[in-house]
Amino acid sequence: MSLKMKPEELAQTIDYKPPKKHWMDNPVEYKKGTYNYAGNPDSIKYVHQPNPRKWQPYEEDWKLPENWKEIILEGFRERLDKFRSLKLFMDICVRCGACADKCHFFIGSGDPKNMPVLRAELLRAVYRKEFTLAGKLMAKMAGTTELTFDVLKEWFYYFYQCTQCRRCSVFCPYGIDTAEITFLARELMNLIGVNIDWVMTPVANCHRTGNHLGIQPHGFKDSIEFAADDLEDLTGIRVETPINKKGAEILFVIPSADYFGEPHYFTLLGYMALFHEIGLDFTFSSYASEGGNFGSFVSHELMKALNGKIYAEARRLGVKWIIGGECGHMWRVLHQYMDTLNGPADFLEVPKSPITGTVFENARSTKMVHITEFTSDLIKNNKIKLDKSRNDHWHATFHDSCNPARAMGLLEEPRYILRNVMNKFTDMPENTIREQTFCCGSGAGLGTEENFEMRMRGGFPRANAVKYVAENNGVNLLTCICAIDKATLPPLLQYWVPGVEVAGIHELVGNALVIKGEKERTTDLRNNPLPGKEDI
């Protein structure tokens, strides 16, 4: 560079733009805040999965088996035979780009490998190289890649940056379910012990004690009884806490965060108050004490095992049918996989509400009804008394949790309930709700502290829509029906939209529910004063 350059000219030479490289030629760099820690070997051993060892993604040596490539390629071959969908999804994409700008991680990060088509291309490029004639003959023209350690690092990085939310699939003209491509990629990596701890440890816990947190039966019983104590303090009513009650009509399955985390806990209080009020004959199960199925984030085999315990408990307790709580991916597993994994559940009866007589035809095969379907039916049939004004301190909007919305089409029931339990409800803009809903950015096992920056990127489109209704309509509450949402939306909003809180639908039902014989309610379920009762 010439020293004779004038300062202004010199300044012109500064280039702020990153160097140009082809998108396939950028090796992955594991930066803090953008990846998840590796699976704990003890957890991996517990569920008999391959290659348990201590390692971390940022380390040079991942301690892979010597023949790791063969294991993955053999696994790939097996799955191409086993799952016709995989073969179809590998072959059929014409790279039209309809999905490209639909992923919340791409929209929030600007990283092109988060375009669903390119993320899937990481797998397809290897598929073409190894399993297609064109790829073998014309490697470069067919867009192939050899499976190397660098490629594996990219797989791990990007397939653990997909929350399996399936927003992109809504826009695919061929109906490619990109989440299933992520399923399969994660399953292949799991064959050589490449997985994450926030999936593997909950899976192991769930296998052992029935729930992700590893809470044992006596701990579960205590938690439910604590909730009954709290509800009694708030309402003056002592509710029943049936656990493992044989012969109950209904098994009630909830995500474990409902009896441990906040704000989930207030939703649990809402369910319990409601069931008491209508006199429902139900039971919790201390082993089916988890609706969530983290197995679905890593392998079909583990998904099947964890889903199976719900039905095993239903059989053991001799119930007629099942109600499921405000849980997210439990519903995808239930609606899209359960029937072929563990079903059909012929030993159960087609769900029929004992209060209204409504038969839930949609659950004829799985025998499991979503709590918002059940409650909206109660409201529709005037079976409960609701005082909307008890929620007047909230102006809510509704986040369609990805799995209930896109995997089971549950779009109206939550909104119907909200409109009946509160006065102020405003939907977010059209292209951010219902089947086009934006993910929280932390699903499918990615909701860890170590992955925080990545979660903030992925959750930005959702938060951006919340910000819009907060600023324009005065919304101060984001409601949702998923435990991962309830855990990860509060931090997301603290960062992007401070002042907006998060709640489950049944927390608001519990606030509004007028219970026979209750004392004068002066607080909501969070123990905050009700509107007009601030001085009491």
Partner: protein, 168 residues
Amino acid sequence: MKFCEQLEQRKSQITEKWLKAVIETYPDEAGKFLFENKNQFGNPIGFTFSKRLPDILDELINPTEPLKLNVAIEDIIKIRTVQDFTPSEAVGFLYLLKKVIRKEYHQDEKEPLLFREMLEFESRIDQAVSLAFDIYVELKEKIYEIKAGEVKARYGKMVDRFNEKYGD
């Protein structure tokens, strides 16, 4: 200030070029989308940049109240703090304005008064960078606080209640 008047007249061309330069800090394949998709909800990064860069330029040309500049910079920095940028790259989008302006007014350096005014304007940009750096650090601190709170919320009050019942 004659220089600022000129900037005022050419504001829209300058912000357009600045926006392009900021978007070029993202990989090429993303640039087209970030620049062309104008939907507030489908492309919140592009939308925020398109809205806030002109606000910043306005405040640099005619400062009205510090809060306005703060809000506009914060909206952009909030995005770049959690993206794949180093701290200097995150706040460096403001330096790109210097680059755009220098290119625009390079030929006018013979006019000494105007050149001096340009340098004065550039110090305003430098001040804005300092402000952006403060905001960046505040946001990082906020992230650590949120992370700590998240761990607590995961177990709610239950751990305390178990301790109450069974002792530590």
